[in-house]
Amino acid sequence: MESVLMARTGHDALLPKEDIEKLLAAGLSLGGEFAEVYIQRSRSTSIPLEERKIRSAEMRAAKGVGIRVLSGEKTGYAYSDILDMDTLLATARAAAHIAQGPGTERPVKITAQLAPDYYTIKVCPSDSAVSAKTAILKQASKAGYAYDPRIKQCDVYWSDEEKDIIVANSDGLWVADGQTMIRVSVRCLATQKGVSRSGSAGGGGRIGMEYFDKFSPEEFAAEAARIAVVQLDAIPAPAGMMPVIIKSGWGGVLFHESVGHGLEADFIRKNTSVFAGRVGEKVATDICTIVDDATVPNSRGTNNIDDEGTPGQRKVLIDKGVLRGFMTDRLNAGLLGLSLTGNGRRQSYHDYPIPRMTNFFMEAGESDPEEIIRSVDHGVYAASFSGGQVDITNGNFVFSLTEGYLIEKGKLSTPIRGATLIGNGPDVLTKVVMIGRDLALDPGIGTCGKAGQSVPSTVGMPTVKISELTVGGTET
């Protein structure tokens, strides 16, 4: 088995089988029903390039073990960065305390399993010289300044990470994954007649340095520069309700916020989500199919296994407008009587897993994206975004525009300044009136935050028309 783990992680198994089994047994020793050991070792590199200079080169290493015990609806969690058995057994007992029951020593046996493999890496970032990474940053920076004489600043940021995780539990699971991630982002500032505007772009994924055979750093820089320059002529955004067309790709943050979080099984189990109890109901127009797919090759949101060891899967959550299911982790799947969907994720060994999205997107429709724009007499075309947020109880969500245009008589016209759009999840789903053929996922720069835990996440969708949405500009 050790060889199976080594093949996946490229390293040793960190804790021998017998030790893991002892920890699991200690976890169950006070009456808990389920115990889990999560071992993490990770190394990341970040390199900022600012004002044409590599400002620093940074490396971070972390190594630790998180032990979880479940007892009914209760979770006991303890973690340690000291990996000697005395400390780890004390950690396991601290987590076990949640059960507070009489318990017996139940021996646990774990068996090695092989995780699927959705991210083949050709050239590991950790095998690449720092100079290869700084070269990429410099290419982007040069292209940003060259894009337009009004570009006065161009900063580029590199990050890569190799994270090995090993998950074992009292059901006998023992599985590992090696998780690589790279991310490059560019921020440009354009200045004209004392007015300054910024633009950002970037990309990455669970992929090696071969990513740059297909995606050039110059493209990211040109995109960031383009947005900054366009924004120089932007007028204040309108205020009020109107038709909104959202561009494919990163626009998927609309569905991540309006629907995604509301379908996470912890909120469903607690009956705090506006979608709780609605499986089988029509919640969206019948052209809407929305999925969470952890298997997209090399995508930022992809998980071979989630952080509970469950293999990543593709789930259709809304099928032609009908709500079909939720995203679960072990605790909530068990309490709701649902199957495991591979959505139990955690930021690090400091945290216990909770239901999270992976690659969450709306499937392609049938309309021609150009036709979608032509269908709007007066409205807004939302092209680029900075992020969003949701209140899953009342369903209100926002997402913030960083590049947008007025639509007048079916054509894109003046660029508008950044503004926040607000809507209500269940309501907006009934207002998706046209869906384009042009499904795209975001380029690989998204991070989702929930309950203090950040995880990499991907959104996506085709060009979509929402019949009405509130645009939070200043022009009444």
């Binding site: 973690y79 949640i98 950044g418 939070g472």
Partner: protein, 445 residues
């Protein structure tokens, strides 16, 4: 292990390995968190943790590495790698450690032994008491995300090759509650919390639960209103959303690089004359208080905006060197990050006005109790966020409003501050009393 000696030894070893300047930032801590839901324990988390970050400058080239593994071989390898890594960075003559030797720092009492010694049962009891108070407040409270109580006790150590070896210990605790109210078939979630360094400064759990329930119940029946322009009151629970953005816009690097809407505003009126904003790292028992910043610069109280006039921008050592200024002692960090400018205890000074009197004087306006989203640009000053709260009609909080946005430009917003309340609560590093802005655009229907 003597972490002070350990930190100093790493600095010495880094210098021997070729670093011209070296700095170690080390943290150790114990944390405990309990969440309770529907009267029962839901989760308990506990851990002891540690980590350290080593920053080196080799010929003014900067590299950084952090680890949680203090094994001597790991550390030796880390030192070697970091010194090597510096070659990848460009030389920047502005890089450097603070050029001051060890100073006598004021003793600050930031450590509450009552928190450190609190038994788990007492912590669990506080979370339960908080949630119960929410349920007891109103029969429409029928569900809960939970109530939580958490504690943290830790020590931070800074050692550098200019001879500095500082440490301070601190504690903090927090109680929070998120109950749900249901009425007429709709549900709303409420939220309230309290956080402090000393247990005796914490709001009572029952008070927190009650206010969280009030927040939820008050939102029931919330509706979208017609798009309009009107005065907006920012409740003290969310008022810091403006000042957090203002802080970022006052970071020296952003200002000098043209990335801030507050560039070239030193000595100028950027807010109404009612506005005085302070940053005070020496506030006794303050959540953001510390005697030395993340680079070892001694901290001091600053009047950032005085009667609406901007007094200063914030700098750490590198940016101070770059722009010919002095570091303001605002470097913040964790062990896994490089120091960078951040708020200490950054707040809008309160006045004597009761916020409810402020409301009574408004014939038509929006009292915002919650904002959602981050549609704020520090480059343009554009501010556009989702908002919910209460509509003010003839001086009364008349009906709940939701699913709207408030928008404006932050310079206009600050200049448009017409009244400031007395109700400041020091519950985080950036706080503010309730304040009223003369006019913003509210987008709804």
């Amino acid at each position: 292990m003597d972490y002070l000696e350990f930190a100093r030894d790493i600095v010495d070893a880094a210098v021997r390995a070729g670093a011209h300047e070296a700095e170690v930032y080390l943290q150790t801590g114990d944390e405990f968190g309990v969440s309770v839901r529907m009267g029962e324990i839901e989760t308990i988390t506990q851990a002891s943790s540690k980590g350290m970050g080593l920053r080196v400058l080799v010929d003014k080239r900067m590299a950084f590495a952090s680890t949680t593994d203090f094994d001597s071989r790991v550390v030796a390898e880390l030192i070697k790698t970091t010194v090597q890594l510096a070659k990848a960075a460009n030389r920047d003559r502005h890089n450097g450690l603070p050029e001051i030797g060890p100073q006598v720092l004021p003793h600050m009492n930031l450590y509450d032994s009552a928190i450190a010694k609190m038994p788990a049962e007492q912590k669990i009891g506080m979370a339960k008491e908080c949630e119960k108070a929410a349920f007891d407040y109103d029969p429409r409270i029928n569900n809960s995300h939970g109530a939580g109580f958490g504690t943290h006790a830790g020590t931070r150590i800074l050692a550098n090759s200019n001879g500095i070896l500082y440490s301070n210990s601190g504690t903090d605790c927090g109680v929070s509650c998120s109950p749900l109210a249901e009425g007429n078939g709709t549900k709303q979630v409420g939220s309230y919390w309290s956080s402090s360094r000393f247990l005796s400064n914490l709001d009572s759990p029952a008070e927190v639960g009650k206010r969280a329930a009030l927040d939820a119940v008050r939102k029931l029946g919330g509706r979208k209103i017609e798009t309009t322009k009107a005065p907006v009151v920012f409740d003290n629970t969310i008022a810091s959303v403006l000042w957090g953005a203002v802080f970022s816009a006052l970071e020296g690097d952003n200002v000098h690089r043209g990335l801030s809407f507050l560039k070239k505003k030193l000595g100028k009126q950027i807010a109404s004359s009612l506005v005085t904003v302070i940053d005070d790292p020496l506030m006794p028992e303050g959540l953001g208080s510390m005697p030395f910043d993340g680079e070892g610069v001694p901290t001091c109280r600053k009047t950032v905006i005085e009667k609406g006039v901007l007094n200063l921008y914030f700098y750490d050592t590198r940016t101070a060197n770059k722009y010919g200024k002095k570091p303001t002692g605002n470097a913040r960090r964790g062990y896994a990050g490089l120091p960078s400018v951040g708020p200490m205890n950054f707040y809008l000074q309160p006045s004597e006005t009761d916020p409810m009197d402020m409301v009574r004087r408004i014939p038509n306006g929006f009292y915002v109790t919650e904002t959602i989203g981050h549609g704020i640009s520090i480059t343009t000053g554009d501010f556009s966020v989702g908002a919910s709260g209460m509509w003010i009609k003839d001086g009364e909080l008349a009906f709940p409003v939701q699913e709207v946005t408030i928008a404006g430009n932050m310079l206009d917003m600050m200049k448009g501050i017409e009244e400031i309340g007395s109700d400041i609560r020091f519950a985080s590093s950036i706080v503010s009393p309730t304040f009223k802005i003369g006019e913003m655009t509210i987008s709804g229907r």
